[in-house]
């Protein structure tokens, strides 16, 4: 086999593999969801249960994303700027949620915070209901989207170094001013990258949320659960496709943002795990 034949063969194999595995299914999704016309799609998406699911997903993201962003930036600052015993353990602990099956994360949360869990008695005695409620969904979502901001910010923070911060300090700036005017502007693309990843993951989480949510139609359904329910329980395939298209569009937009950010800040990697 000559060099160029081999090159062609490899090219064809790769294109065929990716086409069959990823390209075709995604194109097909658009066809299915929009195949009955735009109005049919709009009807599906504006159904009360679909709207409720969209709303819940958005609410969950509105709580989980800012919290995880704050914690992620804080942890990154801690890991990059202070040396302390156990910083490797902390890094590893942050990675646990994505290294473990989302189903297991869900069960772990149930066994800690539901009525049958460690703190269930105390929580219910105080009138706090975490499982089978939106609070549980928020908790599960926070857990599975925890590390993304940290992972995106940490390498940028290390690369930027601490000299700008030290310079600001010798010029008389205090800690808060240094953070807002020096550190944050320097890491802003990293933060945005992490936030985008967190949003994508937050809106798409399925397994962990399924375990903790109890799945009562309309009440504790996020968009992914709504899709699952439409497909598997109510056999409303068009509804499932419509919901899937909404989520797929969000993730494609997220990907475009991510790749734009990567070309701006070379320290950002495709670090998807």
């Amino acid at each position: 086999m000559s060099h160029s034949t081999r090159r062609w063969l490899l090219r064809v194999v790769v294109i065929a593999y990716l086409g069959a595995l990823v390209g075709l299914p995604v194109v097909f999704l658009f066809g299915k969801a929009l195949g009955h016309g735009l109005s049919a799609f709009v009807t599906q998406v504006t159904q009360p249960s679909a709207v409720a699911a969209l709303k819940l997903s958005a609410e969950v993201a509105l709580i989980a994303v800012p919290l995880n962003t704050l914690v992620g930036i804080g942890a990154a600052l801690l890991l990059a700027r202070r040396s302390f015993v156990g910083n490797r353990a902390l890094t590893t602990a942050f990675d646990v949620p994505v290294a473990v099956s989302p189903i297991i994360i869900g069960i772990a949360l149930v066994l800690a915070y539901s009525r049958i869990g460690w703190f269930g008695g105390w929580l219910s005695a105080n009138g706090i209901r975490i499982l089978f409620s939106p609070a549980g969904i928020v908790l599960a979502t926070m857990a599975v989207s925890l590390p993304y901001v940290l992972r995106s910010v940490l390498p940028v923070l290390v690369e930027v170094g601490r000299e700008q911060e030290q310079a600001a300090r010798t010029l008389g700036a205090g800690g808060l001013r240094i953070f807002w005017q020096v550190t944050l502007p320097a890491i802003r693309w990293g933060v945005l990258y992490g936030v985008t990843l967190t949003i994508a993951r937050t809106l798409g989480e399925f397994g962990a949320v399924l375990v903790v949510s109890g799945n009562i139609s309309g009440r504790t359904q996020t968009l992914p659960i709504y899709i699952y329910d439409s497909w598997d329980q109510s056999y409303n395939t068009l509804g499932a496709f419509a919901g899937a298209l909404v989520l797929a569009t969000i993730s494609i937009v997220a990907l475009v943002i991510l790749s734009a950010l990567r070309s701006r800040e070379r320290r950002l990697h495709v670090d998807f795990t």
């Binding site: 490899l10 994360i105 989520l247």
Partner: protein
């Protein structure tokens, strides 16, 4: 920070393992007697949950599938990375864009999409519903970026000098690849393999629809989920603990292996 992490991750995992291994703490009441506490570990319950035939076959299926998926991924990952780094043709950007899509796409969307294309009503006439092939396709889909993105930067960093040297010494293309390029890629390939394997073992969303309800297509995560549907929390926790251990061993193993290869390759 640490408390946030504990609340949403560490404490729940601890609760899970404690439940899974039936670890209990008994005290003789509070006050002074509180200090006379004993820890029970009841491995019997753990053992019987994990050795249920259904549990064994689910874990076996998950491990076996994940190994195959990680292996195929490693091979295809190198091929795709090669094309992305070394080849040049019109429309290559589309391939680059496709690679990350499986990561960004929510798993349930992957499930819906794959099932509509390769399900009972497949427009292509390929029905993978309730087959292990179907599971495999879903897992290959979600793990696609791992190997490619691990290998790609390493391949890009090879300057081609060693390859040129090998070619000038008369080595053929394939021989050059196997003896010169592949050795430098090993750590990345192993790293990608480990990540893909861990992800495949834990995957749930993308395969939850295509697996259907048959025993022979029930993976470990699906089995654990089915236990929770029957409120068998202790068994679910036990199998989860076993799965956690397996993932841990695999991750540590592939990390150690990758580091060892790296060290041998270091100049």
């Amino acid at each position: 920070m640490a408390s946030y992490l504990s609340i949403i991750v560490l404490l729940p995992i601890a609760a899970l393992v404690a439940r899974g291994l039936s670890i209990g703490v008994a005290t003789h009441g509070w006050g002074a007697a509180f200090w006379h506490w004993r820890v029970h570990v009841d491995l019997g319950a753990f053992w019987s949950a994990v050795t249920q035939p259904a549990a064994i076959s689910a874990i076996r299926l998950s491990l076996w599938l994940s190994l195959c998926v990680a292996a195929i991924n490693a091979v295809m990952g190198v091929a795709i990375a090669w094309v992305l780094v070394r080849d040049r043709f019109f429309g290559k950007w589309a391939i680059e864009a496709l690679i990350d899509l499986p990561f960004a796409l929510p798993t349930i969307v992957v499930g819906v999409v794959l099932l509509s294309l390769y399900g009972m009503a497949s427009p292509l006439g390929i029905n993978l519903f309730e087959t292990w092939m179907g599971l495999m396709v879903a897992l290959l889909f979600v793990t696609l970026p791992f190997s490619v993105r691990a290998v790609q930067p390493v391949l890009a960093s090879l300057d081609g000098e060693a390859e040129a040297a090998a070619t000038s010494l008369g080595a053929g293309g394939l021989r050059t690849f196997v003896s010169v390029v592949l050795p430098s890629l090993w750590p990345a390939v192993l790293g990608g393999f480990g990540l893909a394997f861990a992800r495949a073992v834990g995957e749930f969303g993308s395969i939850s629809l295509i697996a259907g309800g048959l025993g022979r297509t029930t993976t470990a995560s699906a089995y654990i989920y089915s236990l929770t549907q029957g409120f068998l929390w202790t068994s679910a926790a036990a199998v989860s603990t076993a799965l956690l251990l397996v993932s841990l061993v695999i991750l540590v193993f592939s990390n150690v292996l990758a580091r060892r290869v790296q060290r041998r390759l270091a100049p």
